[in-house]
Subunit: 240 residues, 2 copies
């Protein structure tokens, strides 16, 4: 859907939107900066596909210009607890999360997501891409690090028409890169994000309730706790 | 399918295989170098989807270890004559092909293809990716240039586990980068490629016959002509 603003004079941005706490906050930030936001979500075979309904709801609430959900076959490639039968780790300490790359890492996921974002940016004429990666509280994923994002941006500027005849550029914006979860939540609350319709859990129950025990739930709950704000999300009764 | 060789001692490579002349030659080159080849093809909404049957046939003929065809929704993003109703340009001169980016350019295509290849490489444990890009006779695509490939390789080395704990590397191999179409065909003939089951045409007739007039057909026919070899492919009767 197109929103009511005049997109002709508004700069456009592609916003990678998972439906989680981070990416929803990023959408609010991009909107506050005045961008017409083209939100991009993926059905990639993730066990937490419920997040896509949350993404849709938040794209509407936050006045996105458009929201595209692509079906991409990442589960055919496998290699992750999020797309296979491998068990999602539970109740890990925050120290344990800092050690190595966890089983919930999806090989190539951010690169594939950013590649689609780059393609859509070229088609709609956007010079900006927003992604909610985070080098703190980041669960040890190699494709969330600042040096990775910088290398992707450099590659992307050579990959498209913008890198040849059009003399345009492309920016990968990572407004949460150096924020703690607490700071992200505080920023989102300022901007009016409704966290009751975000989804963070890697391993939701069949009824969609968050487990409260996976790395994503634990980092989220810690963030709300440190911010002194009640997490508006209901958790499964076993969450503890 | 797995071939009969002992993959345990063979290095593995991901080979991006479209079913066309270039990528089939690349598969033959990777096989000749001794790689166990994991071929990767995409159904991305291209009008020339017949190429996928050719890719399958060639992966078998050339003894690939595996062949994966992924359904990815590039047509939802659009922006190309190959994935929309925009007409494929016909009978352009070779000089015209050198001017600017043609309408058959698919925004982000090689970046998306390479991103999936990078993901699969990580899962199967391959350190090499092969892609049939070509800076001569290349039809003006920004994502076929050597500087783009170098930037992708640099990014990919930061994107995966290999870039952190495993101390492995990743190489993007472009054995055709500086070859003319004539040289590619000569190389393939030496290696026993059967070009009668390759498909190059951007705009095949409903019966699958190549048009003979699009940029891809014209570059292919010029290559065979310069190599002094008959193109074994039948063309549509209007091809001229």
């Amino acid at each position: 859907m197109e929103n009511k603003e005049n997109n002709a004079i508004q700069p456009k941005a592609i916003v990678l939107l998972s439906g989680g706490l981070d990416s929803t906050t990023v959408l609010a930030i991009a909107r506050a900066k005045g961008f017409a936001c083209y939100c991009l979500s993926f059905h990639y075979g993730q066990r937490q596909a419920i997040e896509l309904a949350r993404a849709k709801a938040n794209s509407v609430k936050l006045g996105a210009a458009d929201h595209l959900v692509l079906n991409i076959g990442l589960d055919a490639i496998g290699g992750s607890a999020l797309t296979t039968d491998v068990k999602v780790p539970k109740n890990r300490t925050f120290e344990a999360m800092e050690q190595g790359v966890p089983q919930t890492y999806v090989p190539g996921r951010n690169t594939i997501f950013l590649a689609y974002a780059m393609a859509w940016a070229e088609v709609v004429g956007a010079d900006d891409i927003f992604i909610g990666v985070n080098a703190l509280d980041y669960s040890g994923y190699p494709d969330c690090r600042p040096e990775y994002i910088a290398a992707f941006e450099k590659m992307a500027r050579l990959a498209t028409r913008a890198g040849t005849e059009e003399k345009r550029t492309l920016r990968i914006n990572t407004p949460l890169m150096h924020s703690t979860k607490k700071q992200i939540i505080q920023k989102g609350m300022e901007l009016g994000v409704d966290y009751s319709t975000t989804h963070s859990c890697y391993d939701p129950a069949p009824d969609g309730l968050a487990c409260g025990q996976c790395d994503a739930c634990r980092l989220r709950r810690k963030g709300f706790s440190e911010a002194g704000i009640d997490d508006p999300l209901p958790y499964h009764k076993k969450a503890g």
